[in-house]
């Protein structure tokens, strides 16, 4: 217990070989071994764990899809029973939507945000650790049921009455319900962390019109998550109450089955944007690097992210056009859904113009980013079609919708993410991925994807319903379904090539250096991989492109990267004002701690005990949570102006 400093004039330093790197290394380094592994709060370590874990769920969800495609490759195949098929398509959706698509972006943002913002960590490093551990626990929780044959089986949007106890008596849905609430806690604390990190820890001079677009994307998604996630958590909680305590929220006799759909989609539609906007941000930052020019229309692109999300809160009923709602509601939500294409199109035109006006350097990352524009347009057009109520009435619950969702989610999430892996892998590991294998990787995925998913539009228009476990001969779908299955295996082969490339390049990849792509943003100004403290001195930012200022020469001002705030009295970073990023506080950053891990364990015990109603065990979980939180927030220092005469034992006062 030491008394804290009251205020000080922060020292400036010029970076040399021996100063201040080694000193900061000692302050920021996580201790090696098991304890360090469980207690680290380094955003880069947590970001990498997020990426690896999310990718593991992507592979699981992918294998589930391939098994289904074997079943559907021809008519009347009986590899899977209907119940097995139900669990597979549900787990496929849950894995991809909840356990892969959002967490992979959180992983990239966790890793990149402080590096992009010129800071030494996120605003709440421990909350970051909590967010990861809770995510991991929720993923294992949901998969625990599936492994023993009791996985969720009512589709990822889990409509009542089929998900009610009367029709679905096992624990399948209970595990899904509580697991998703646990995941919601992880998403919420992570989102709060991004919002505050954006507001308070940008490098001096990085006013809000100078942040990379990825920051805008993740920020917008995070604000939306704060407002939207409670809806789905509540829906699942009420469903669990209906199932376990005979309440009447969703039953037809007393409650309202449609309430489920409202609560689910009031969350669900903003969520769709939450899992694409950060990926669109990656493209907006990565693509210009390879086009050798700044993105066209920075302000329009940044604002269109925000506008897309704002409109995204007003379109949820387009998932419910076929439920018999009044036509006034249908007209309103149809109109809102059509209008939302306008801000989306702004980004598309900005990217196209950036390629058009630039001098593109064709790399694997560029191919993934650029192809995303094509896939986004196809997914956008099919979305625009189903936004029209009469068209939707024809197409709802057919494979057309399956095609749409995959063009949107693979097109705007997976392709940018793989591009981002090619782009930022050198920063994360210090080694470049192999470009030759990269080309094979890209073309296999691109061809496989379109072969696998484009024909789904056609079988959907021909009337093939989604979620069927098999289909009879003579429907006219058999040939197309065989092509779809072949395409999906080709796509999977492409993903396998990525894994091979990562495994090989980790050992034998070409050394990357600080800035292998000659990219403009701050993360490329530090070493690859970055040291635990990110930057020797806090950069001072004078433009949107701190590393391109000499080429662009937009103004005489230059960012300063090799001389700046030192901040070495313990783990520290600079706090700046929310809009203009003027320094107003020296932030003391927390040490490594196991409290987040313990809190995640406590919550998991609480939720797991609730399934068999073991209330004593749930109480133990709650106590672990309370103790972890108390330890977490225990003040670290006694202020020098404290009126209390007695400092704590061992304490001294300045």
């Amino acid at each position: 217990m030491i008394a804290r400093e009251e205020a000080r004039l922060p020292e400036f330093a010029r970076v040399t070989e021996s100063h201040p790197g080694p000193r900061l290394q000692a302050i920021w380094e996580t201790e090696p071994g098991l304890k360090g592994w469980f207690s680290t709060v380094d955003h880069k370590e947590i970001g990498l764990r997020y990426i690896v874990t999310a990718f593991a769920f992507l592979l699981l969800g992918g294998v589930e899809a391939l098994i289904m495609r074997v079943q559907l490759a021809g008519p009347e195949r009986r590899l899977l029973t209907p119940e097995q098929y139900d669990q597979l398509f549900t787990m496929h959706g849950v894995s991809m939507i909840f356990l892969y698509a959002a967490p992979i972006l959180t992983g990239f943002s966790n890793y990149l945000w402080p590096l992009l913002l010129g800071s030494r960590d996120m605003a709440f490093p421990r909350l970051n650790a909590l967010s990861y551990w809770t995510y991991l626990a929720a993923g294992m929780f949901i998969y625990a049921g599936f492994v023993v044959g009791q996985g969720p089986n009512a589709g990822w949007f889990n409509y009542v009455p089929y998900a009610a106890r009367q029709y679905n008596p096992g624990v399948n849905i209970d595990i899904y319900a509580l697991g998703l609430i646990l995941l919601g806690i992880s998403t919420t604390v992570g989102s709060a962390n991004f919002v505050v990190t954006f507001l308070r820890t940008r490098a001096p001079g990085m006013s809000i019109n100078r942040v990379p677009i990825l920051i805008w994307g993740t920020l917008t998604a995070s604000v939306a998550n704060l407002l939207a996630v409670p809806s789905v958590s509540l829906a699942f909680f009420l469903l669990w109450m209906d199932r376990q305590f005979a309440t009447h929220f969703f039953d037809a006799s007393q409650g309202q089955p449609l309430l489920w759909q409202h609560l689910f989609w009031m969350f669900g539609h903003p969520w769709v944007y939450a899992i694409v906007l950060p990926a669109m941000g990656m493209v907006s930052d990565g693509l210009p690097t390879f086009c050798r020019r700044p993105i066209v229309g920075y302000t329009a692109v940044a604002l269109s992210s925000v506008a897309t999300m704002a409109l995204g809160f007003g379109v949820w009923v387009h998932h419910m056009f076929a439920t018999g709602l009044p036509s006034l509601a249908l007209s309103f939500f149809s109109g809102a859904s059509l209008i939302i294409t306008i801000p989306s199109a702004v980004a598309v035109f900005a990217w196209t113009a950036t390629i058009w006006l630039g001098r593109p350097v064709i790399t694997t990352a560029f191919l993934f980013f650029a192809s995303m524009i094509v896939l986004f347009v196809i997914g956008g057009v099919s979305g625009f079609m189903t936004a029209s109520t009469p068209v939707d009435w024809q197409l709802t619950d057919t494979y057309f919708v399956v095609a749409h969702i995959h063009y949107v989610l693979i097109g705007i999430n997976v392709f940018p993410v793989v591009g981002a892996i090619y782009y930022w892998f050198p920063k994360m590991t210090g080694r470049l991925l192999d470009e030759r294998l990269g080309r094979w990787n890209f073309w296999t995925m691109f061809v496989g994807f379109n072969l696998g998913f484009f024909p789904m539009h056609i079988v959907g228009l021909m009337g093939m319903p989604r979620r069927i476990y098999t289909y009879p001969h003579g429907m006219g779908w058999s040939g197309a379904n065989l092509i779809i299955s072949i395409g999906s295996f080709l796509f999977a082969l492409g993903v396998l090539m990525l894994l091979v490339n990562v495994a090989v390049s980790l050992k034998r990849g070409r050394a990357a250096g600080r800035n292998p792509w000659d990219a403009p943003t701050l993360e490329w100004s530090t070493s690859s991989p970055p040291p635990p403290y990110n930057f020797e001195v806090i950069p001072e930012v004078a433009s949107r492109h701190p590393l391109w200022e000499d080429q662009l020469d937009e103004s005489p001002a230059r960012s300063r990267l090799d001389e700046g705030l030192l901040l070495d009295h313990g783990r520290e970073t600079i706090g700046t004002t929310p809009l203009d990023a003027v320094p107003d506080l020296i932030l003391e950053m927390p040490p490594d701690t196991v409290a987040p891990f313990c809190l995640a364990v406590g919550m998991t015990v609480l939720f797991a005990a609730a399934i068999p109603h073991l209330w004593w065990l749930a109480a133990i979980g709650a106590v672990i949570c309370g103790l972890s939180l108390t330890a977490w927030f225990w003040p670290r220092t006694i202020p020098p102006d404290a009126p209390a005469a007695e400092p704590a034992p061992g304490g001294k006062r300045q």
């Binding site: 804290r4 009251e6 205020a7 000080r8 004039l9 922060p10 605003a123 709440f124 919420t188 709060a192 962390n193 919002v195 505050v196 308070r200 820890t201 001096p204 704060l226 407002l227 939207a228 809806s231 509540l234 009420l238 109450m241 305590f245 005979a246 309440t247 009447h248 929220f249 007393q254 409650g255 309202q256 309430l259 409202h262 009031m266 001072e540 004078a542 001002a557 230059r558 300063r560 705030l565 706090g575 320094p583 107003d584 506080l585 020296i586 932030l587 003391e588 108390t630 927030f633 225990w634 003040p635 220092t637 006694i638 202020p639 102006d641 404290a642 009126p643 209390a644 400092p647 704590a648």
Partner: protein, 200 residues
């Protein structure tokens, strides 16, 4: 190379009231919790507008307990505010007293709520009104209990001398959470005790 962008200036170190990241983090928590209660109350109104008056177990819910209890909760907010003013101005008695009174009034609110629950002639599973009533007030009670626990820990830290007129971010952050819990109650109170008079 250009001149320094940054004029060197003396900066405060560490959490400082509303300047602290913790304050902003708490505002995020309040935003998401407000949404939670908005969705809870949406569920109530969504089901309510499709029902007739017969949906209510009592013709109009009695305010005999909830009315005075609302005043108890508002008084506890005032006490916590007064305690926070105490730590800001270095008045230790007011600081500790305000927090302690706030905690006691919060606990009293909980006790009255539990008594009101027990006095109801219907249970959680009696119908959708009853399910909504017990679930929504239950959610609120959990928040009150959490608030009481947080204020208690802050009071212990206060007794241990961790706070000063300049450094009391945890008191400020706990206090805003408490005010939020009280504000939410006003919405819950309006929904269950006043809105039936307007709707039917």
């Amino acid at each position: 190379m250009t001149e320094a962008l940054l004029a060197p200036d003396v900066l405060p170190v560490g959490a400082r009231g509303r300047n602290s990241v913790g304050w902003w983090g708490m505002l995020c928590l309040i935003a998401t919790e407000s949404s939670l209660f908005a969705y809870l109350l949406f569920s109530y109104y969504f089901i309510a507008v499709q029902r007739t008056q017969a949906w209510l177990p009592d013709r109009h819910p009695s305010m005999a307990l909830a009315g005075p209890n609302t005043l108890v909760l508002l008084a506890s907010s005032a006490a916590v505010w007064w305690g926070e003013e105490g730590v800001k101005h270095g008045r230790r008695g007011q600081h500790l007293g305000g927090l302690a009174v706030g905690i006691l009034l919060g606990a009293a609110f909980l006790a009255v709520q539990i008594f009101e629950w027990k006095a109801k002639h219907y249970g959680l599973a009696s119908g959708s009104y009853a399910s909504l009533y017990f679930t929504i007030t239950g959610f609120h009670m959990v928040h009150v209990a959490a608030g009481v626990a947080i204020l208690t820990v802050v009071l212990i830290w206060s007794l241990m001398g961790y706070f000063s007129p300049r450094h009391h971010a945890r008191v400020t952050i706990a206090a805003i959470y408490w005010h939020f819990v009280d504000a939410v109650w006003l919405c819950v109170f309006f929904t269950f005790y006043l809105s039936p008079y307007l709707m039917w």
